[in-house]
């Protein structure tokens, strides 16, 4: 091989538009070395954590379906009852137990009340209770789990034992006890759900704290003189928010289900208010005669739960800092 002879193929192909058989002399001029700033320049645009997460979430079609469905239900819960002229409490004896049709899109219940209006008013109650309970649980869980995980030692042990005890109590028993003490209704319902419900997120946050507090950036902050408060609020919590958000999203369906269940057995939402669980209760009673009265609220309960799970799954992947490139 002659010195300098072109050996295409040995070390890779070329794909440039220059005519390689006739390269101009000026191409072999030396280029003065630019400052290394050019080599250090970052080419891609700057994205914050949330922008990056949103981009990733958008690519997850299934999660977007879940998000879309949820958004639709929320909008309908606000707008739905306004789309018909019936009030959700209005009794119409002439139209009792009529099936879905042009007059009543979802049919009527045993007392002739319009199911469409009732479903969407019920959505307001079920969704708000679900989100409220899940958020309160997360809030309490973050505080307890955060303190427990960060400070460790005997405090941690005591709190963990408390958590162990609480998770052993069946939530139904607790709900019944609360109802006995406070009477039935929305407030006691929410209280019953949060008395034991915070345990899951507490465990999660505690685990995250245990892992994060030994990260080198926490050690570095401590070495620089950061106080505990600064470490918790500037370092640990921002890195836990993603986890908490995912956790809340996954906890809402559970809360919705709880509400539905407790209302179904008569302990939760009381008439004249409506919730999906309550609708299901009445629907079950007239199941043989008018099955849609049960199917329709059940359908909405399950699809809401499903869409939240799908969204939560997608959020978990989108918010995981390790998956950022």
């Amino acid at each position: 091989m002659k010195h300098g002879e072109n050996m295409a193929g040995a070390l890779g192909a070329q794909d440039s538009p220059l005519d390689l058989d006739d390269l101009g002399e000026e191409l072999f001029e030396e280029v003065p070395r630019g400052d290394s700033g050019e080599a250090d320049r970052i080419v891609r645009p700057c994205l914050t954590y949330w922008q990056d997460a949103w981009l990733r979430l958008r690519k997850n079609k299934i999660a977007m379906i879940g998000l879309g469905l949820l958004a639709f239900y929320i909008i309908m819960s606000l707008v739905g009852p306004l789309m018909v002229s019936y009030d959700f409490r209005a009794i119409d004896e002439a139209q009792m137990d009529s099936g879905p049709g042009p007059l009543h899109w979802f049919g009527t219940d045993t007392l002739g009340r319009d199911m469409w209006a009732r479903v969407w008013v019920g959505a307001r109650v079920s969704l708000s209770i679900g989100f409220l309970a899940a958020s309160l649980n997360a809030l309490i869980g973050v505080c307890v789990g955060g303190v427990s995980g960060y400070f460790g030692g005997r405090l941690d042990m005591a709190i963990m034992r408390l958590i162990d005890v609480l998770s052993g109590i069946p939530s139904l028993i607790v709900a019944i006890l609360v109802m006995v003490v406070m009477g039935a209704g929305i407030a006691p319902l929410v209280i019953a759900m949060i008395i034991v419900g915070w345990v899951g997120s507490a465990r999660l946050v505690r685990g995250q704290m245990l892992q994060l507090k030994n990260q080198e950036y926490v050690l570095a902050a401590r070495k620089l003189g950061a106080s505990d408060a600064r470490i918790i609020f500037r370092h640990l919590i921002p890195n836990t928010i993603g986890l908490i958000l995912t956790n809340v999203t996954m906890a809402v369906p559970y809360a919705i289900f709880n509400e539905a269940f407790l209302s179904f057995i008569g302990l939760g939402v009381q008439p004249p208010a409506a919730s999906w669980g309550l609708l299901a209760r009445y629907g079950a009673q007239s199941f043989r005669v008018a099955p849609w009265q049960l199917f329709i609220p059940a359908f909405f309960i399950s699809t809401t739960m499903l869409s939240l799970y799908l969204l939560g799954d997608g959020l978990r992947d989108a918010l995981d800092p390790k998956l950022r490139s």
């Binding site: 091989m1 002659k2 010195h3 300098g4 002879e5 072109n6 050996m7 295409a8 193929g9 040995a10 070390l11 890779g12 192909a13 070329q14 794909d15 440039s16 220059l18 390689l20 390269l23 002399e25 000026e26 191409l27 072999f28 001029e29 030396e30 280029v31 070395r33 630019g34 290394s36 050019e38 080599a39 250090d40 080419v43 891609r44 981009l55 990733r56 690519k59 490139s325």
Partner: protein, 356 residues
């Protein structure tokens, strides 16, 4: 290819030939062009070291040869031939029988190659019997004991029952090596085999690998970033940068007369124990290019002190510098040589050594 055409080549026929390999991965951020057209070959019984830093595509190349990269999402083009047989289009069944029996692989982290729930003896015998059904359990066990002794594990009969976590890092790596060579493969691919080990253990493992290579006549494709490990084991070297081969040649040639500015800088960026504290440590400014959008010309040009105008415009082909030595650098094009002469080693190093 220069090596095989060279007259009187000792190495004989080629075992593995990679030609025009391109591998891209599609991710949510775009397409990563991890390997951008590489060609290399390993002859029987020889050790080719693939050297480069993180992100240069060396591991991806090795994994592509073993066909352990799932092919969507990766897009693979080019050809990989084992003794003339094309591997990239081989059905998975046939590839499975090749892996372990003809090509063995050793990874950096022994804990990911060893099944934590299975005793090591079973892992070795299973591997043996998978590739050769005629071997009986007793024979397989004997062979396992033999190979454990060969890799230097004391009291091999007793160790057969033990689990991976019961061994130390160095011992685990020996077990992995035993598993890789038990079927006497023709080619051993070692991906950073000693990076995770302490230096005194590394010396033991390198020693073991060299003696195994000599005894079994196995060819070795050694992937590493450590030039010291390379000089210990390699017959030939291929230097990778940003998914391409930038220089290739015999070990002595590349170490003594590095042609590509990157190779020269790499050799000069580690302090040598046998030189004093005034040795100049080269540091290459900047970082390797973003493989989502590699530059149109030579990938090293933005960081190269000897860049020519053409370097930013077109990717260089490989230019031969001798019988077995080639570099992918415009400095060795006839016109560049006519104009500037061949760059001396001093010039190569000096241009890169800015900070001192």
């Amino acid at each position: 290819m220069p090596n095989s055409e060279a007259k009187g080549s000792r190495a004989g026929s080629k075992l593995i030939e990679v030609e025009g390999l391109r591998v891209s991965f599609s991710t949510y951020g775009g397409t990563v062009k991890a390997v951008r057209g590489i060609s290399l070959s390993v002859s029987k019984g020889e050790c080719l070291a693939v050297v480069g830093e993180s992100g240069c595509g060396k591991s991806v190349t090795a994994q592509t040869i073993m066909r352990i990269i799932p092919s969507p999402p990766a897009a693979i083009e080019g050809s990989v031939r084992l003794e003339g047989r094309e591997l990239l289009t081989l059905p998975e069944r046939k590839m499975r029988s090749l892996r372990g029996s003809e090509i063995g692989m050793i990874f950096q982290d022994p804990m990911t190659s060893l099944d934590p729930t299975m005793p090591i003896g079973k892992q070795i015998t299973e591997g043996l019997r998978e590739h050769d059904r005629s071997v009986s359990r007793a024979q397989a066990r004997e062979r396992a004991v033999e190979v454990l002794a060969t890799v230097g594990i004391p009291e091999p009969e007793r160790q057969l029952k033990r689990y991976a976590y019961e061994f130390s890092g160095g011992m685990r790596q020996r077990v992995v090596i035993a598993m890789a060579v038990v079927c006497k493969p023709k080619l051993l691919i070692a991906d950073e085999p000693t990076t995770a080990l302490d230096v005194t253990i590394q010396a033991q493992i390198l020693d073991l690998m060299r003696s195994l290579k000599d005894e079994l006549g196995t060819a070795v494709l050694l992937i590493t970033h450590d030039m010291g490990v390379v000089s210990n084991m390699a017959d030939r070297i291929a230097v990778f940068y940003a998914g391409e081969v930038v220089e290739e040649g015999r070990a002595e040639e590349v170490f003594e007369s590095p042609a590509h500015p990157y190779t020269a800088a790499l050799l000069r960026s580690r302090p040598r124990l046998d030189r004093d504290r005034n040795q100049c440590l080269v540091s290459i400014p900047g970082s390797p290019p973003d493989l989502f959008a590699p530059p149109p010309g030579c990938a090293f040009a933005p960081r190269c002190g000897l860049a020519l105008e053409i370097c930013r415009r077109a990717r260089p082909a490989g230019f031969a510098l001798g019988e077995s030595h080639a570099a992918s650098c415009w400095l060795y094009h006839a016109k560049a040589l006519a104009r500037h002469g061949a760059p001396s080693r001093g010039k190569l190093e000096m241009e890169a050594c800015r900070d001192r």
